[in-house]
Structures are given as structure tokens and as C-alpha cells.
């Protein structure tokens, strides 16, 4: 894969960039940091691309990969380096959207949209709500001031070094096997076989498909023929594919393999459905239980009342900088 020098050099450069980008008490050279990190990332990708190109044209991911991943990583970087929580959450949404794009080019349409709906649309909104809820009111001297803990990153050097060491080792390990990684054909989903389990779907597809003349392959009223046991007579796997259609007029037709449309394939959603419900039914139940418990737990936790008056709370926080005379005005922004 990547030669070690390139890899580790890119990691080091990226570390430097991230470290520069992290917020600090004085003005943070964020832009420089981003540029450096971007350079590192670019270096890594270029190196990857070169080695991929050396192996053959088909080995490069398409251009969309680069765009989406670039935006995703930029969003991630900004997420961890932005001092303000709200902006961090918004950058996270950007990251999610780019990830969604990555999923699309990986042929996982359902997951892409599920991601947007669930993650960006539910979880992140919740985060935003809580951020709004839990941000304490600005102190008396500056309205736009950041909280102390937001302003400065904690041990940036150590954390960055740790993280990039981890990254280096991860990438090395992942890379050491990827070139020779081969898909196991036994694991491959036989989409046509699954489609055979869905005669109604087949009928819908055939009704929407047009043959070379422009006629639909199946008209309304046509059904797939059933044999004596009531099973649909069609075979979509193998070389001898056919579909027996019982026309509305009563005669039985056979659509041969050459006539079958190209759209007669398993959609992503259907595939996921077969995998999810067909192969992991227990996990679904468990997931449901998890969600139930989370819901209950959240309700229970959020109901707990903490009986402390404002002054005591502020003292507990160690931030009793506010003039007690101005108590209500400054405390109201943060109180639950």
C-alpha cells in the first residue's frame, strides 16, 4: 500500500496540523492548521491513488469519493476544533451529510437516507437542544464570551500524539492485508434468488419494463403463472432464466432470459430488509428493547430534581463571579 515513510510522514504532518488547529487561549492559527492538515490528507490520498493506479485503472475510487471524504474530514476537524458547541454540532451535521454521500457511492442508498433521517435529523437535533439548554448564561462582562472550558483545548499535544499514533498503527494494520483481500463468494448476496421470493415485486418490475417495441412486458391483469403447488413459475438464477406469465386472456407466456429487463434486480432496500429481518431477527428485538430502556432511562433521569438555589449552584461550579445583586438576570439563561 502506502510506503511507510509516506504514511508516517502524513500522520506527523496531520498531527501538527490538528494541533495547530485546536483552540487555545490566545488566537488560534486555525487556518494554518487546516491547511497543514489538508496537505497531509492530500498527501495520503495522492499516495494511495498512485499505488492504486499502479495496480490498474479499475482500482481507483471515483472522484466522488475524494470530494465526499474531503468534506467529511474537514467537517470532523472543524468539529473538534471549534470553540463554540453549536458550531461544532453543525459541522457534525456537515460530516454526516458527506458520510451520507460516501454511503451512496458504496451502493447503500437505504443507509444513506437512514443516516440523514436518524442521525442528522434526530440525534443531532437533540444535541442541539441540549446545547441550548445547558449552556450557562454569559458572565456579566462579555455577552459573547466563551466558557472557560470551551476556550482552550486540554493537553493538545498529548492527545494529538496519541491519536495519530493510533491512526498510524490502524492504517498500517488495515493496509497490510487489504491488497490481498478477496471477497468470499459464499458471502455474496444472491440477489436474484431473493427476488424469486417476491413474485409481486417481479410483477411490478415487469409491468414497468418495456420491451424493445415499447409494450410493457406485463400488462395489468397478468400474473406470474403458478404451478400445481401454487409456487410461482420463474427462475431468475443461473443461465436459463425465465418467467412464466399467465396473461389476462388465459394463455401462459414465457419471458426468456434475453427479454428480461435489466431492472429486474434486488433493490438495496430489499436487500437490507432480507438481511435485517431474515438473518438478524433477534437483534431487532434486542435493539427494540435497548431503545425502550433508553427512553425510560432518559425520562427517569431527566425528572430528577436537584434542589439547589442559584447562588449555591454557582458556588458549586466555582464560578461565582456574578454580582449576587444581579443574580436572577444572569442566572436565568442557564437554569433548567
Amino acid at each position: 500500500m502506502l510506503s511507510p515513510i509516506l504514511l508516517y510522514g502524513a500522520c506527523a504532518l496531520g498531527a501538527v496540523g490538528v494541533m495547530l488547529a485546536l483552540p487555545r487561549k490566545t488566537v488560534s492559527p486555525f487556518a494554518i492548521g487546516v491547511l497543514v492538515a489538508a496537505a497531509a490528507f492530500g498527501l495520503a490520498l495522492v499516495g494511495l491513488g498512485v499505488s492504486a493506479a499502479q495496480m490498474g485503472a479499475g482500482h481507483l475510487p471515483n472522484i466522488h469519493f475524494y470530494i465526499f471524504s474531503g468534506i467529511a474530514l474537514f467537517g470532523a476537524l472543524r468539529l473538534i476544533t471549534h470553540p463554540r458547541p453549536v458550531y461544532a454540532a453543525l459541522y457534525f451535521i456537515l460530516t454526516i451529510l458527506s458520510s451520507c454521500g460516501l454511503y451512496l457511492i458504496l451502493s447503500a442508498e437505504f443507509m444513506a437516507f437512514a443516516l440523514v433521517i436518524v442521525y442528522a435529523g434526530a440525534i443531532l437535533i437533540t444535541y442541539l437542544f441540549v446545547i441550548m439548554l445547558a449552556t450557562e448564561g454569559p458572565s456579566a462582562d462579555a455577552v459573547e464570551a466563551l466558557a472557560d472550558y470551551d476556550r482552550a483545548a486540554r493537553e493538545p499535544l498529548l492527545a494529538t500524539v496519541c491519536g495519530f499514533l493510533l491512526l498510524a498503527s490502524l492504517v498500517t494494520i488495515l493496509g497490510s492485508g487489504s491488497a490481498s483481500l478477496k471477497a468470499d463468494p459464499k458471502l455474496a448476496l444472491d440477489g436474484q434468488a431473493k427476488l424469486m421470493l417476491m413474485p409481486t415485486r417481479v410483477e411490478t418490475i415487469l409491468r414497468n419494463a418495456r420491451d424493445g417495441v415499447g409494450n410493457p412486458l406485463m400488462k395489468s391483469g397478468d400474473k406470474i403463472a403458478r404451478n400445481a403447488q401454487g409456487l410461482p413459475e420463474m427462475k431468475l438464477t443461473g443461465d436459463d432464466r425465465f418467467v412464466k406469465v399467465a396473461r389476462a386472456g388465459g394463455n401462459v407466456d414465457t419471458i426468456a432470459a434475453t427479454d428480461l429487463p435489466a431492472t429486474l434486480k434486488l433493490e438495496n432496500v430489499e436487500g437490507v430488509a432480507f438481511s435485517l429481518i431474515g438473518e438478524h431477527p433477534g437483534a431487532i428485538e434486542i435493539a427494540g428493547v435497548i431503545l425502550l430502556m433508553a427512553m425510560l432511562g432518559a425520562v427517569v433521569l431527566a425528572r430528577k430534581k436537584v434542589e439547589m438555589d442559584d447562588a449555591a449552584k454557582k458556588t458549586a461550579a466555582g464560578r461565582n463571579l456574578v454580582d449576587p445583586a444581579l443574580g436572577p438576570a444572569s442566572g436565568s439563561g442557564g437554569a433548567a
Partner: protein, 117 residues
């Protein structure tokens, strides 16, 4: 053999070579590392949880990439569960953050260090 694979990925384009998989894995690893750094660096509790969500994201990308590579939908199924767990965890985490915030009026993670040895 190859046409079996071709036919098998009825909804997928051509099989993914290993190195392309590696591209996606690298991206996932970088995102994970960034999330880890963010978790270790930031002191705002909510930002820390956001970073954990970022790590979930990275895992998700890796899973989908593997799913695509192995030409089945098991990875995507798994990502559904990851999503589920992430949601549950986010709910609990935020409830706890709210409680903690109520107690001390601060989101500073270093404010809670009483359980020390």
C-alpha cells in the same frame, strides 16, 4: 465464477478491489482518530459526546465499505444497529449531562473528579 459474482451483485456495480476498500478504511481511520483526539482534548461534555458520535460515524463508514466489498448487506444491517445504539446512548448521555449541569451549572468535564484514588 466471475459471472456468478457479477450476477450476484445485482444491485451493486462491479466488485470492489481491495485497494479501494483500503481507501475507505483510511478515511474511516482518520475520522476515528479525529474523534478520539477531540474526545481527549475538549472539556465541554457535550462536545465530548459529539466526538464519540463522530467515532460511531467512522465505524459506520468502515462497515458499509466492508459490506460493499463482501457484496452483501450484512454490514448495512449492522450499521442500523449501530445507529440504534448510538441513539440510545445519545439519549442517556444527554440526560446525564443535563443532570450534571443542573448540579454544578457547568459543563466542564474536569469539574467532576471526586472519585479519585
Amino acid at each position: 465464477m466471475t459471472d456468478l459474482l457479477t450476477i450476484a451483485q445485482a444491485a451493486m456495480p462491479a466488485p470492489m478491489p481491495g485497494i479501494t476498500l483500503y481507501h475507505y478504511l483510511v478515511v474511516s481511520a482518520i475520522m476515528f482518530a479525529l474523534g478520539l483526539i477531540g474526545f481527549l482534548t475538549r472539556r465541554n461534555l457535550i462536545i465530548m459526546f459529539l466526538c464519540t458520535e463522530l467515532m460511531f460515524q467512522a465505524a459506520g463508514i468502515a462497515l458499509i465499505a466492508f459490506s460493499r466489498f463482501h457484496l452483501n448487506h450484512t454490514g448495512e444491517t449492522f450499521v442500523i444497529f449501530v445507529l440504534t445504539v448510538a441513539a440510545a446512548e445519545a439519549a442517556m448521555a444527554l440526560a446525564l449531562v443535563v443532570l450534571l449541569f443542573r448540579r454544578k451549572e457547568t459543563l466542564d468535564a474536569s469539574g467532576w473528579s471526586e472519585m479519585q484514588g
